[in-house]
Symmetry: C2
């Protein structure tokens, strides 16, 4: 998967305190489901810390960038942009086009808003993508978009540099020390 062009997730409109956990879940979902990097605002430093800590323990590669302006990261992005919004076009209609552009070598920025997102983002986006036109969760929308972008390949990803590894079980929990398994 690491040979694909980059997929970067940017979190917009984070409200400190109120959105800390949602923003953390955006970052962890980006990491677990195949993105290469997440961009947070400096006001989301606790989320950044949690995602870095999980990457240290459970592996990567995965990058966490912090910037004083996530909007600037959108403005300065030269490649394709998919913006998740309940007002956009159905993911089942646009996923193939997004996938095609990505397969052709175009890095992708996925913009994930909290509450209000400036109109500029709708305008700059190549695709405004709705995972249903219903109000639900930006974390759920991100998960469905990434799963459809990578067509499930993200679920079989191998992790490097982990010091622990969960071993799938029918019942119960099993966690292995992974430090002796390093490449």
């Amino acid at each position: 998967m690491r040979e694909d062009p980059a997929v970067v997730v940017v979190r917009l409109g984070h409200r400190p305190g109120r959105d800390d956990r949602m923003t953390t879940h955006v970052g962890l979902t980006a990491r677990a489901l195949g993105a290469d990097r997440v961009v947070f605002g400096t006001d989301a430093s606790s989320a950044a810390e949690t995602v870095r800590d999980i990457t240290d323990r459970f592996g990567g590669p995965f990058e966490v960038s912090v910037t004083d302006s996530p909007m600037r990261a959108v403005r300065e992005w030269d490649d394709r942009i998919a913006h998740l919004t309940m007002y956009g076009q159905p993911v089942q209609r646009v996923a193939e086009e997004v996938r095609g552009a990505h397969a052709d070598g175009s890095p992708l920025l996925v913009a994930v808003g909290a509450e209000k997102v400036p109109f500029e983002v709708y305008d700059r986006a190549d695709w405004n993508v709705a995972v249903t036109n219903q109000p639900h969760s930006e974390v759920a929308s991100l998960a469905v978009l990434l799963d459809r972008l990578f067509e499930g390949r993200e679920l079989d990803r191998e992790w490097r540099g982990a010091d622990r590894r969960v071993v799938p079980q029918e019942t119960g929990k099993r966690v292995e020390d992974a430090t002796d398994r390093e490449e």
Copy 2:
């Protein structure tokens, strides 16, 4: 889709205050992505209220049940149970079996934990399902499981009794008054 056997999502281990938004997002994701009902504890009444309010405005059918013991709802469930946990078996391996049982007419309870889930739930579950064995978000896991269970059909669902309807747009937002469109 309404002719399928029921899919019910139960939220376990809700911690009032701390989990209010995550629990709300579990309920909204359950509704938007094709489940028929969500079961919350009485200590998640603000989440229940939000999900009911969204259903009133954006349509249904979708039920919100509140019980003093979501664990009892698990114990008293007679049909199949899928429990989402990062320690479980890969969703890409078990989804077909879950889908098959559901297609054969078996209602499904999807158990979504917050932090610690009692071992009893692992034990009662027909499937302990992991959307990756990585720590991320129960909302993301629920979204991927439902999308794979319904194979995308949930995204084309029609909503009844809505008083507003979002019309998909390439750019921008469009919301219609839906009260004159009632069946």
